[in-house]
């Protein structure tokens, strides 16, 4: 059996890693689509870049949720 303290310590890095999977796939797909469309039609780049960055922020947030939960948990319970 795993010691509860050790399990709690392990859960934080797992949370960060698992939370990074989805945004990783999402940002990869998004950037690929962005490059594809700019390569086909270079004149849409100005309009696309703005929306690209907005969507980047939206997708990235899910990864940051994992990190923030890890950080708040650890600084509260294992700090000092």
């Amino acid at each position: 059996m795993l010691d509860p303290q050790a399990a709690a310590l392990l859960s934080g890095p797992f949370a960060v890693g698992l939370a990074a999977i989805g945004p990783g796939i999402g940002i990869g797909l998004m950037t690929a689509a962005y490059f594809n469309s700019v390569a086909r039609q270079p004149e849409v780049q100005g309009a696309l870049t703005a929306y690209y960055f907005i969507t980047l922020g939206v997708v990235e947030l899910l990864g940051l949720f994992g990190f923030v939960s890890f950080y708040l948990l650890f600084s509260k319970n294992f700090g000092h």
């Binding site: 960055f53 907005i54 922020g57 947030l61 940051l64 949720f65």
Partner: protein
């Protein structure tokens, strides 16, 4: 280690109810410093305006043009109504983020205080205030544009969507708040980790990344606020 980081200098305020009875003095100091810096720069820019702009005036005009490009890409000409809000939001956040990249830790060599002077946006109290301001703004502009018909959008596709539409009013400011706060916090921790691994060359790369992230996050915050305001103040088909 990481837990020492982002520790705040809390000053208790007696006689107020629970969540309001302390204030993060370092965040407030940095926010005031940011506002003062912006005010000084803007007053310097507008002191002598000329038809043929000098260096400072060109800088101010490019800031204005950039803020205006944020509102025009989302709302077109209608965006000029809320340009004042989006522009000041962008300028405040970008200044606060970039001030956080300055080596402010050296102040502790002369004056030891509990806490740390870092970016004002690295504390979620600041970003929550900004996000709640955006919430009020899109209510205000929506009601100004549509009157009481504004509240009809809660029932918009179907009345069954009412709970989702109400929850959206909570998640929008919450996600705005968390995105900016978490990005700045991650940046601070990342540069701290880089400095503890190799203090000579490695932090330069991380700090370059942070400068990029600082501008991008300010842009995203202003852009999303602009999208929300324009989305909720436009007439529906």
């Amino acid at each position: 280690m990481a837990a020492e980081h982002a520790e705040h200098w809390m000053i208790p305020l007696n006689g107020l109810p629970a969540p309001f009875n302390q204030v993060n003095a370092d965040t407030v100091l940095m926010a005031w410093f940011t506002m003062g810096l912006i005010a000084v720069i803007v007053l310097m820019i507008r002191r002598n305006l000329q038809l043929q702009p000098g260096k400072l005036q060109t800088f101010g005009e490019s800031l204005f043009d950039f803020s205006r490009s944020i509102t025009t890409t989302t709302a077109g000409k209608r965006g000029d109504v809320f340009l004042f809000y989006i522009g000041s939001l962008f300028i405040f956040i970008v200044t606060a983020n970039l001030l956080g990249q300055m080596p402010l830790r050296f102040i502790q060599l002369f004056w030891h205080y509990p806490g740390e002077l870092a970016a004002a946006t690295g504390d979620f109290n600041t970003t929550a205030a900004l996000a709640i301001l955006t919430l009020f703004m899109y209510f205000a502009f929506g009601i100004r544009a549509k009157g009481l018909r504004y509240f009809k959008h809660y029932l918009q596709p179907h009345f069954l969507f009412l709970p989702i539409n109400i929850i959206e009013d909570v998640t929008r400011p919450f996600s705005l708040m968390l995105r900016l706060y978490a990005n700045i916090l991650v940046g601070e921790i990342l540069s701290m980790v880089a400095m503890s691994m190799c203090p000579y060359i490695l932090p330069v790369g991380v700090i370059f990344l942070e400068l990029f992230v600082a501008v991008i996050q300010a842009y995203i915050f202003a852009m999303l606020s602009s999208v929300y305001i324009s989305l909720l103040s436009e007439e529906h088909h």
